[in-house]
Symmetry: C2
């Protein structure tokens, strides 16, 4: 079954409106998030593994993919659906060999060159951004709408846009052939996580629209 | 071939007498280190992977095992001999399933219970410590010589001792049935890495002794 990339939640416990990650993720999924990526940089491997198992209970319950950021070992150990790697992680071709064909491989790209290389290396989808300034990753490279268009034309795998995605810009991407919005603060930093997810999804898909 | 655990180098780039890790490792190996564990907590996955490939060139050249601390994915990606996990890493039984039977699995233990559990989970060897106070891991639990003796009697897999091992205490362990010394600062923080390794090894094995 092909994943639905339309509203792809990336977690960031530093920017949450609540302390309970499991509850935040569940609210986001009920609101319409179609995938969850667990991103943790500061905790022990044991804590990351335990957290992945905990979040997997939720994603399994709702039948959506769980993706682990960077840590291929955590993804494999927890039985996640896949792994998402950046340009500073284990190279995509090596990652693909390690996880085999059945696990999803997402790769971050900021340029046509990175996108084409990732697709060649076996990426199932791309995360392209940061599209707009963001507090989550203030030092992330910015990708212009023009470059995004070039990337879209250069590869035929699904693309989610990330970085500063909000209700102000969520409607810009679908007509460009982008497959989904990857959101952090715009969902989990909001007081009403469920409603924020629902609003973003409806803006992305077109008001009242559905696929 | 059974690994020779007698002088097991653990890297720590924060405590090195030189900036070049590759040269430090090579000097340690020439001096008599029989295994190398690469331990990195602060660098990107890509940098860790690249460093592992670099150090593997040296360990391969001298025909000794390269072990990666914590990161099972880096160990697999770099083709290391094995992985060493602590009590805050991915659990040993899960790690064993991930790496298969051919890769070495080392587990840190500070008590008989942890040692027995690690052996049951499939550990090939144990790292027991910290034996003495150490600047590398000031918050590590201390293991008494009495507890070490109990651990030695409770499991039959090889044991290396770690934590504050130095020329002052290197001679205490062999008669207890301990298989090797794991050393950090006592080798790589010293001005003459090669000589420090040689001295520790000769003290461990007994003067002029060999196995």
């Amino acid at each position: 079954m092909k994943p639905d990339y339309s509203l792809y939640l990336v977690t960031d416990r530093m920017r949450m409106s609540t302390k309970a990650l499991d509850k935040a993720v569940e609210q986001a999924v009920i609101g319409g998030c179609t995938m969850v990526q667990l991103r943790e940089k500061e905790i022990s491997s044991l804590d990351f593994y335990a957290l992945a198992l905990e979040i997997k209970k939720i994603t399994d319950r709702y039948g959506i993919p769980l993706i682990i950021n960077d840590r291929i070992d955590i993804a494999m150990a927890a039985g996640a659906t896949g792994v998402h790697i950046g340009q500073k992680d284990i190279p995509a071709d090596i990652a693909r060999k390690m996880i085999g064909k059945d696990m999803l491989l997402g790769v971050s790209a900021t340029s046509v060159e990175e996108a084409v290389n990732a697709a060649k290396a076996g990426a199932d989808y791309l995360g392209v951004g940061a599209m707009f300034p963001t507090e989550t990753k203030p030092d992330a490279s910015h990708v212009s709408m023009e470059e995004l268009g070039k990337i879209r034309r250069a590869v035929d795998i699904p693309i989610v846009v990330i970085g500063g995605i909000s209700e102000e810009n969520a409607m810009l991407f679908k007509t460009m052939g982008i497959n989904g919005l990857a959101v952090v603060s715009a969902v989990i930093a909001r007081p009403d996580i469920k409603r924020s997810a629902a609003t973003l999804k409806s803006l992305f898909l077109g008001k009242g629209g559905c696929e």
